[in-house]
Amino acid sequence: MEDLVESLTRGNPTEVKVVLASVALALAVYQLLLIAVGYGKLRPSFLAARPASAAHRASGDAIVVILVVVAVMCVSVFGFEDDALLHVVAGSALLAVLAVKIAVLRRWHGAGRFLPLLGTAVFLLLALTWLSSAGNFLADD
């Protein structure tokens, strides 16, 4: 797997991971705005709640794919290093909460009232995961 990632990224797994994680974070910030419109917390004249929620779901699906790709790259190339404990914990928690959120959306509709909480947790964990890896990398650059 490591060889595949190395060849796909032309020997730049960290750089590609940083770009993908940053794209996910940027989209996550946009997701907050979209769902604020979806829940009626923001009421811009140019965007109704229903299309905002639909765009939130579509964009969210894209973020999930990006995050899974980043996670696979991260684990296959770097593994679970001790010196990146915060990143490992935040990243693992992010994937776990994301899985619960998807399960609530697709199966456990009764737990729908927890979606705002789960969404906020996903955003905060994503920000923490990014800060503890990509943010550090970009700051050192």
């Binding site: 020997g11 940053s22 946009y30 140019f46 109704a48 765009a55 894209a62 650059d141």
Partner: protein, 75 residues
């Protein structure tokens, strides 16, 4: 019906904004990373090696020419 059209348009525009955000994030981060990537470094080293080789070849040619000239002058 008109409301559905408007909603579809709004959703498509929202997704277009998402695409623009993706493009902006890629541009900003790759610009920040700059030529630190391994591929860029390799390309830079290759160009430097190429330039060194060319310079070496020119020097060699000049030396040969000078040797030829001195050989002709001597005879």
């Amino acid at each position: 019906m008109a409301g559905d059209d408007s909603h579809t348009r709004q959703m498509l525009l929202s997704l277009l904004v998402a695409l623009l955000i993706v493009a902006a994030a890629i541009i900003v981060v790759t610009a920040k990373l700059g030529p630190t990537s391994a591929a860029e470094q390799e390309a830079l080293e290759e160009r430097q090696e190429e330039r060194l080789k060319q310079r070496e070849e020119i020097r060699e040619e000049r030396r040969e020419r000078q040797e030829d000239q001195s050989g002709q002058d001597g005879s």
